[in-house]
């Protein structure tokens, strides 16, 4: 049964890796966040909202959210060439869509909000951590939001549904499913899956993803409160 299943790195099925979150780590950015999760290291910077002068790129009814997900060359085992590739382009689009529902973009017409996600080291689950970090950095930049978006990955490893897949589990596992939610309402803003799951397994995985996201949301809230409510 799931309860007795111990994963390769010693975690039970429902346990996340150790996480460390920090905000306000960059001097120039309007908002920033740094997340460590296992060996994953992710740095997010937010610039904006800033007024756009070109009519071509700006929208009269709201801000343009521009997300960039980037892996630095030595963040992965095999050196990655600098610059965008198909994978990072797709992830940039999805992260942008994952955080858009939470932001009151309509409050900043004719402006842009730039979110840059830099993966310093990758060890599985960077897109979810990118969303978590982007959400924290946006909160740090004081951009009006409905909620903090939380995200985590679930998957199927050795016929067990587990949360927060490590790099090895991601590569050898049977399924990988990153999920992002707005914790207050439980609405889903991001969902991907690759691999094979039965419908009951999917439901189980979804429940586990919710639990993981609520836990991460607690950490996000603590991080923000620690920064501002230090007294």
């Amino acid at each position: 049964m799931n309860e007795q299943f111990i994963r390769k790195d010693g975690r039970p099925f429902n346990s996340l890796r150790n996480m460390k979150m920090e905000i306000g780590v960059l001097n120039n950015a309007d908002g920033s966040a740094y997340i460590e999760c296992g060996n994953n290291k992710i740095l997010v910077g937010v610039y904006g909202p800033k007024e756009l002068y070109s009519k071509k790129h700006s929208k009269p009814d709201g801000a343009v959210l521009r997300c960039k997900y980037n892996m630095i060359p030595f963040s992965v085992t095999e050196r990655k060439r600098p610059g965008p590739d198909r994978r990072s382009t797709e992830i940039s689009k999805l992260i942008s869509e994952a955080i858009t529902p939470a932001i009151f973009l309509e409050k900043y017409p004719r402006s842009s909000i730039d979110v840059s996600i830099e993966v310093l080291e990758a060890e599985g689950g960077t897109r979810c951590l990118g969303i978590v970090g982007a959400s924290l950095a946006l909160a740090d930049a004081e951009i009006p939001m409905k909620d903090l978006i939380s995200a985590c990955a679930v998957g199927k490893v050795d016929n067990h549904i587990v949360v927060d897949l490590s790099e090895e589990e991601d590569q050898t596992g049977q399924a990988d499913m990153p999920v992002a939610i707005m914790p207050r309402t439980g609405e889903i803003t991001f969902l991907q899956m690759d691999g094979n799951l039965s419908v009951p397994e999917f439901e189980e995985a979804m429940q586990l993803a919710y639990d993981g996201c609520y836990y991460i949301n607690q950490l996000q809230q603590q991080t923000l409160l620690k920064k501002y409510g230090g007294e």
Binding site: K41, G45, I72, P73, F74, P82, S116
Partner: protein, 267 residues
Amino acid sequence: MVNILSEVSKERIFDLLNHDQRIDERNFIQYRDITIRTDYISKAEGSAMVSVGGTTVLAGVKAQIGTPFSNAPDKGIIITNTELLAIASRHFEYGPPNKFAVEISRVVDRTIREAPLIDLEKLCIVEGSKVWKLHIDINILDFDGNLMDAACLAAVSALLTTKIPAIKFVNDEISIDTEHLTKLPIKNRSVLCTVVKINDKMIVDPLYVEETLMDASLSIGFREDGTLCAIQKCGLNILTAQEVMQSMNIAFNMSRELFSILDTINQ
């Protein structure tokens, strides 16, 4: 959100400089606090995060086996690349490295190559066909002036702590032994020190605001024995021969400090 006071602080910086003071209360030949954290990225063969005040640079070394250049069949290869990440400043944008990033790469590359920091001949595995190829990637994470010195310090720290796998020959086939790691063959350590001319004063380690007002700068690479290995003059204005000699003196003294900081990292 541009600082509305930028004009005021320009006058203030000049005013302070005329009274031998700087905006952050340092003297002219004083670096900001420097911290070096090595072995930060476990996926890289070597890495270092260097902060010089508000400037933070992350350098990493990736080692691969590649084919040598035909004009140097018995030498390993080093390739230096710099990325000004968009998180570091509102003036940095995504895209291929611009002229500033390329200049940093090339100056750092010269300081490392000409020292020479690494004995490239020892990175040769099979002459003419297999050599170690080291990719040095410099990423600017946070920007508050003096990128050149910080980038070079990060690259050198990363190389000093880089460990590459041993090579074994099994039936004339090359196999990589990741169990046994060896340090790079270090020959001469080198550092880069930049002296900036601003309002006819010579200062080191400029802040971003100071850099925007500078006349010219001179970046000088030193080997540990005090000899020179690279020089780069930047900026739109001139330096007199006297100023160049003065800069050389200042940079030499500063380079001793940088070497003693390099001594503190775990090599």
